[in-house]
């Protein structure tokens, strides 16, 4: 136990935790969207994220921005960032769509039990991760530094870098956009309707298959953005990068109340904070254990997560 360290570096740990948590939250949205509508744990969502990291690496390489290029100018940074986000969103969204059409749709047609969906998802996850592993020779790929961290704010001794601020802002913007999309648009209303009652909404003329495809693509796009943010934060990626992140993000979704979009945000930020405080208290090697213990602890007292399940309960 290292309480002094926790107290002295509280601000620092908080901001790191929030940054990390914002990335978890973006990935958690994918789990929560799919679960809210289909009651399916999309285990392969972590690989959708992984594909996004490689897509942004690929598009940077194609644009001639590699490990040996120097620091790009501000305009170039914005351009590369935009390019990466678009590419990662496209790649991740497409991966998620293929997943739904190839793996899940045939099962839905046959009315298979839940466990079968989960095993299929696990199988799909193994397929995508291993395919990437074989293609990259299982070596980690280094990424060029796009943004050099510079301190821009200092609150009570805790320095906040432009990178952390950018990641938080970008993640929050994406989440607000998604929230507005689900709650304010016609298509979003379709999503909420199917989440509430698939049969009745089908009778009312909602095309269920299209809505389901839509939520997979939306979740994939969020994971794509998370992938780019992860890339500029960590600076390297491998074929199995999604596994642990995916589990944490899923834990975040459950913590906030799976099926609840705002819950995913809350859960993600909380998991990020708790694991960083835990790491400060017990040492870095216990970081993941702290996150899981916290999850189990919360579920014991609030079995449906902090905010409960509300994509289904929302009024259309």
């Amino acid at each position: 136990m290292n309480i002094d360290f926790l107290l002295s570096d509280f601000g620092e740990l908080t901001i790191t935790g929030l940054t990390q948590g914002a990335i978890y939250a973006l990935i958690a949205l994918g789990y929560t969207l799919v679960y809210g509508v289909l009651r399916l744990i999309n285990f392969a969502h972590s690989e959708v994220f992984m594909i996004g990291t490689f897509a942004s690496l690929g598009v940077w390489t194609a644009a001639g921005f590699g490990l040996n290029s120097g620091d790009p100018g501000t305009l170039a940074v914005l351009g590369l960032l935009g390019l990466a986000i678009v590419a990662a969103m496209l790649a991740s969204g497409a991966t998620a769509a293929v997943l739904e059409m190839v793996a899940y749709r045939p099962l839905r047609r046959r009315n298979a039990p839940n466990l079968v969906f989960l095993i299929t998802a696990i199988g799909a996850s193994v397929v995508i991760a291993e395919a990437a592993g074989v293609l990259t020779g299982r070596r980690p790929s280094g990424l060029p530094t796009l943004v050099r961290p510079v301190e821009v704010l200092n609150i009570g001794g805790a320095s906040i870098t432009n990178l952390q601020l950018g990641i938080l802002a970008c993640a929050l913007a994406m989440m607000v956009a998604l929230d507005l999309f689900i709650n304010r648009t016609r298509m979003g209303r379709g999503v909420r309707a199917v989440a509430q009652d698939p049969q009745t909404s089908a009778l009312m003329g909602v095309d269920k298959d299209r809505v389901i495809l839509l939520i997979f693509v939306l979740g994939g796009m969020m994971a794509g953005v998370a992938a780019v943010l992860y890339n500029i934060k960590i600076g390297s990626t491998t074929y199995n990068v999604g596994f642990l992140l995916g589990i944490k993000a899923f834990a975040a979704a459950v913590l906030g109340g799976i099926g609840n979009l705002r819950g995913a945000l809350l859960g993600g930020l909380l998991i990020g904070l708790v694991e960083n405080y835990g790491a400060g208290l017990f040492g870095n090697e216990w970081m993941n254990a702290v996150a899981f213990v916290a999850l189990v602890g919360v579920l014991l007292f609030r079995p449906t997560g902090l905010l409960g399940e509300s994509l289904r309960g929302a009024r259309a």
């Binding site: 839905r108 047609r109 009315n111 298979a112 299929t120 199988g123 193994v126 799976i258 254990a289 189990v296």
Partner: protein, 361 residues
């Protein structure tokens, strides 16, 4: 193409059903003789030189031992997933608890001073694994199915992290010199040595057979029927007077005990374990073994476990691709045959009924 595959699979199932019928029609002494012959064949496998099934790159007897361990794991996990319908993704946690109990309490190189004999360690390992099952199950079995999945996944990961980070299990450096069971050959050399693995295989096979018989009896008892009732409809079971929490906890504890036992056997044979043996991917493979073969059916999960453990060893030449092929096979089997390769009869009927219902979602 798809239709041809489906038709072929239909013929395979029909053949299976026909075999079942013929098996039932055989006179009892005949059935007994066939079972005895089969068991004798299993015990003789390491000595019989059957060409095609031998593994080219690894010691065949070690592979057989591994297969036996996987079957034991699958039988245990089948109680939790197949019978009681509780999705446990962190079963490896119990397996690790069993393995580390033997390692910590029996190995001369562990930091714990008690050097218990092997025979005392096995019941201890089963007991501690069972206890951890109850400790995990007591609070979490009140959760709904999907939440249980993530909580058990978290449990498996926590056990692994403790193994990695805590000094007593000694992380990646692991614990070596784990003793095996006592006993000597006629010439005085130890029966369970590192060079000749056959006694370990025979021991594991014996344990598997005993556990299968025990679980088989359990399945057809009052407890087993309660599990099935819970799996099918928990609320209805509760209304009918089944104490669902109690029986779910029992399923968890019995599953954990079997997991602990298989871990303990694994550790004794390896003589060395470290945290690398207990990753979550293996835990997911355990679940896959159960579901692939046909959850809820002893023959099914046995076949599933054999496939999952044997095929990667047999085709080690394709080492880099084997997980990829495995994943593709998993998806393909699930899309084609959701009830598993050898479905339990009850389950097959259920799915058939379900197909005739109107499709929802």
């Amino acid at each position: 193409m798809m239709d041809a595959l489906r038709a072929a699979d239909g013929r395979r199932l029909a053949a299976l059903a026909a075999m079942r019928e013929r098996w039932r029609a055989l006179p009892k002494p005949m059935r007994f003789a066939v079972v005895v012959a089969l068991v004798a064949l299993l015990y003789g496998l390491p000595n019989l030189n059957i060409p095609l099934i031998r593994t080219p790159d690894t010691d065949f007897t070690s592979v057989l031992f591994l297969v036996a361990i996987y079957v034991l794991v699958a039988v245990g996990l089948n109680v939790v997933i197949g019978l009681a319908g509780l999705l446990d993704l962190g079963y490896i946690g119990f397996y690790a608890v069993g393995a580390y109990t033997v390692a910590i309490f029996a190995s001369p190189s562990s930091v714990v001073a008690t050097k218990l004999p092997w025979l005392a360690c096995i019941p201890l390992a089963i007991g501690i694994a069972m206890l951890s099952g109850v400790i995990l199950g007591w609070p979490t079995l009140r959760l709904r199915g999907d939440y249980l999945a993530i909580v058990t996944l978290g449990f498996g990961e926590i056990v692994r992290l403790i193994a990695v980070n805590w000094d007593v299990p000694n992380g990646q450096r692991g614990i070596s010199g784990i003793p095996g069971p006592p006993g000597t050959w006629a010439d005085g050399s130890p029966l369970f040595g590192l060079i000749d693995v056959r006694p370990f295989y025979w021991l594991a096979l014996t344990v598997v057979i005993v556990c299968m018989l025990a679980v088989g009896r359990l399945e057809h008892s009052r407890v087993g029927r309660s599990w099935l009732a819970i799996r099918e409809d928990e609320d209805a079971a509760e209304v009918m007077g089944v104490n669902t929490f109690k029986f779910k906890l029992w399923a968890f504890a019995i599953g954990a005990a079997l997991g602990g036992l298989s871990g303990a056997l694994f550790a004794s044979k390896q003589a060395f374990i470290n945290s690398d043996s207990f990753d979550l991917l293996t835990s997911i493979l355990f679940v896959a073994a159960v579901v692939l073969g046909g959850s809820g059916n002893m023959a099914g999960v046995t076949v599933g476990a054999i496939l999952i453990s044997y095929l990667p060893e047999r085709f080690r030449g394709f080492a880099d691709y084997r997980l990829l092929v495995f994943g593709i096979a998993l998806v393909a089997i699930m899309v084609f045959r959701p009830q598993g390769l050898i479905p339990s009869r009850r389950r097959a009927v259920e799915l058939k009924d379900k197909r005739e219902e109107a499709v929802v979602v």
